[in-house]
Amino acid sequence: MKHYTSLAEIHRDMDAGKINCVDLVKGYLNNIAQNKDLNAYVEVYEAEALDKAVVVDEKIKNNTAGKLAGMVVGLKDVLCHDAHGLQCGSKILNGFESQFNGTAVERLLAEDAIVIGRQNCDEFAMGSSNENSSFGPVQNAADPTRVPGGSSGGSAVGVQANTCLVSLGTDTGGSVRQPASFCGVLGLKPTYSRISRHGLAAYASSFDTIGIFSKSVEDNALMLEVIAGADVYDSTVSKKPVPTYTTQIDPHKKYKIAYIKEALDSDGLQPEVKDTMTDLIERLKNDGHEVEEVGFPMLRYALETYYILTFAEASSNLSRYDGVRFGHRSEKSVDLESMYKASRSEGFGKEVQKRIMLGTFVLSASYYDAYYTRAQKVRRLIRDELKALLSNHDFLVLPTAPTTAFKIGALTKNPLEMYLADLFTVPASVAGTPAISVPYGKDKGGMPIGVQAIANDFEESKLLSFSKYLMN
């Protein structure tokens, strides 16, 4: 099967009678089989996807098909899909099946998307390299010795390796944007609260956002249009009307753009990434955009703020995995305390345990004000500063990640350096603003580079238009 890059392209071939959904699904299943070593999928719904393809083909014939007919989708293993496995890349949910569809999944299915499989990720979405999965690491399709980024590594590689057209990941501090950058695909983190979190197994509730991987801007826009918006199952979701993003993509607009001085000056920025940014700034200027260097002094506090608050929320969100009602219960349980301790020690990986313990610490009575309360205040300051920049500019542009994909195992011994991989993605997560990672060239070794644009709340349309321009 040819490597499709957009649903429009698939529809053209379908209209021309060159392909139908069954062929398409067979093609993707074949690609999955050929790329098995990448370890992008933890479960493939072969028979089910083929059955659904027959149904969708019939609907297309009868002109009753939904907006996403022909869209073959992968789901990160943290999204609830009724009667399908859900493990969050963790042993603690061994054998667990979700009993309901999350809102995003429900809306995809209602528009006739075909879900082809459940994708590997860092355990409970905690990680920047997809090396923290109980299902083992995911490999970057551009170089299997390198990581795909994380935590939505499987979902990024799924699109990168043509095993699905689009996939849904989640982005808490960069978990869609950073792997998109490492894998050379488009990765959107919408505004916090734009998409219902109902059916997203929580890592850090006040940061978690479902995000979209795609090859084309149009597919990303279409997916967002379908899954965003008000939802009775999530009281925190925005009730703002959802624009028809697909009709608003305009690559010809001129913008006022700021680039962040601190980001370009930061230590550890790979020279090729820096060069890419310099080239981009030149291009923007040449194309008639207004480009300005700005300071973002609060950037230096973003990582600490992000980690304190997400760990705190995670320590509470993950308390439900206790071996009582579902998931893993240790054989070594002899009483209540040993059941808790052994089940959670065996079920959770090291990174998750570390975050739970640190989160418990920052919420504890003696340290609460020093960490949690202060981090909340700094979060507001970061947001204020970012919003102030965005009130004068359409976008902030900066690299998605300081480097391209690193070698598997390269940073596992050095967690602080690993956390630095999130340096440029966490500000938008801390502030809740939308951001996108756009593939923009490669380094000398052929590894993809991504550039990131951050826009003001609910300005996804603008981000998509700008991405379209960047990708032209």
Partner: protein, 484 residues
């Protein structure tokens, strides 16, 4: 211990009352809120804390909490966030309880109790907040494993927290009675302490009388009746006084009440060492109280026991005792109200309800809502008595039981059919009067010599002869006339 020593000390008590709300569904999902269902039947994915689930606030819960707050003169918070109270226990599905730590929906307020002399006394409240209940751990005899029933998990609760404003176990009892009365009047909780739909923890301390600073407080749990709360407080007071007298210091701890012997004992230290790590729940958007919403609740508030009590005392001029008994339960008060809509003789209405009606209900262990006789029929009985067609005793001893049997007949029709009505026929009464006077010539003579008190005896004899039917007014007139 010497009473003299005991008298040196002042008891200080604050109560925390949890009341399960009578909503159709749970506080954060649509599972049924139903007592007594088979274990683990009202347990959807949200109740069980499955991954990916989020709480959805049942606004009715906030409405019920606000009703209680208004009844206690609390101020109502406009901006409400919810907090997570984190701890591990098998009956707590998410590993945290959603509660209101920083922004309780109701702030301040008071519960008014009555002292023995009828004087009002206000117990100040700290707050009333909403939260979710946990499930129930069940330890069966001879069973090594603990079983958990999650039906109760997520049942809405209000927690009513008093200030340390209670100074005796009697006051604590009166406070709880009043709270129970309020929740029942408001229809927000059935107030059943034995079934656990209303639960109470007590913070108890002692200090020397006149001291400025409270002593170290001890929290006592596990008292499942009003009486046990009183017993626990009495015991704890003496225990603490004794400890202080022995030169010991009181440690702030949680103790559990043992109903068998009326004592309290310390819980294992481990169970107390909880740092709950409260923080705002990021899965729930704040609940904003709007003026319209609040006004709707205010407009739908039922009459409250204290309002009715005052009305019965001042408007109806009933004795305090009557007002107290009639307002004890909402059903009783509302029935009385309904009777009073049909009669202006409020005292008579009170007499019938507190007399024959109440003893019938007590005897048959019934609630007044089960009474087959309608309030307007009670008013009919009163009208018959007021119209001298019937004596109160015949009304209560004969007509009332007859009406219970035949609740569809009018009081007068039934009384007539049973020949209970006073005979107003002067001629037949005169016959009876004459017969009585003929029967007791010596008494007649005594009367005529001035022993006027005998009139009552003659009245009684006439009444007896006519089986109570002779109109007392006519009888009285005839006797006086004939006795000269």
């Amino acid at each position: 211990m010497d009473q003299e020593i005991i008298d040196k000390y002042q008891l200080v008590v604050g109560l925390e009352v949890h009341a399960q709300l009578l909503t159709q569904t749970k506080i954060f999902n649509s599972d049924e809120n139903e007592y007594g269902a088979l274990p683990n039947t009202n347990v959807g994915v949200i109740t069980l804390g499955h991954p990916g689930t989020m709480p959805l606030l049942n606004e009715n819960v906030m409405g019920q909490a606000v009703k209680m707050g208004l009844a206690c003169s609390c101020s109502i918070s406009e901006y409400n966030i919810f907090d997570r109270k984190n701890y591990f226990y098998p009956d707590l599905p998410k590993g945290y309880q959603i509660t209101q730590d920083r922004t309780p929906i109701c702030v301040g307020g008071r519960v008014v109790i009555y002292k023995k002399n009828g004087e009002e006394h206000a117990i100040q409240l700290n707050r009333i907040h909403v939260e979710e209940d946990a499930g129930k751990s069940i330890h069966l005899d001879g069973e090594a494993d603990t079983l958990v029933d999650f039906n109760r998990a997520g049942v809405p609760l209000i927690e009513i927290v008093s200030e340390p404003d209670i100074r005796s176990s009697e006051e604590a009892h009166a406070f709880l009675m009043e709270v129970r009365k309020l929740v029942r009047y408001l229809d927000v909780c059935d107030g059943n302490m034995e079934e656990g739909s209303m639960r109470c923890d007590a913070n108890i301390s002692v200090m020397l009388k006149g001291a400025k600073e409270y002593g170290k407080k001890v929290e006592v749990k596990n008292m499942n009746s009003l009486k046990n709360v009183q017993r626990a407080i009495d015991h704890e007071f003496l225990r603490q006084v004794e400890a202080l007298e022995n030169g010991e210091t009181i440690i702030s701890e949680t103790r559990t009440f043992n109903a068998q012997d009326g004592t309290t004992s310390g819980m294992r230290a481990k169970e107390e060492l909880n740092d709950y790590r409260y923080f705002p729940d990021p899965d729930l958007s704040p609940f904003i109280v709007t003026e319209d919403w609040l006004n709707t609740i205010k407009a739908n508030m039922p009459a409250l026991p204290r309002e009715l009590y005052n009305k019965y005392m001042t408007d109806y001029r009933l004795p305090a005792y009557d007002a107290q008994v009639l307002t004890e339960s909402k059903e009783m008060a509302f029935y009385f109200e309904a009777v009073c809509a049909h009669t202006k003789n409020f005292k008579a209405a009170s007499n019938i309800i507190m007399g024959p009606v109440k003893s019938y209900l007590n005897e048959h262990n019934l609630s007044i809502t089960n009474l087959s006789i309608q309030p307007e029929q009670i008013a009919e009985i009163i009208a018959l008595v007021d119209g001298n067609k019937l004596s109160f005793s015949v009304a209560s001893q004969k007509l009332f039981p007859a009406m219970l049997e035949k609740p569809n007949q009018k009081a007068e029709t039934l009384a007539e059919a049973l020949h209970l009505l006073h005979d107003g026929d002067v001629a037949s009464i005169e016959t009876a009067v004459d017969a009585v006077l003929a029967e007791f010539p010596d008494k007649v003579a005594q009367y005529q010599k001035g022993k006027k008190g005998l009139l009552g005896m003659f009245m009684g004899q006439v009444k007896k002869k006519t089986q109570g039917k002779a109109d007392p007014k006519i009888t009285n007139e005839l006797l006086i006339k004939k006795l000269g």
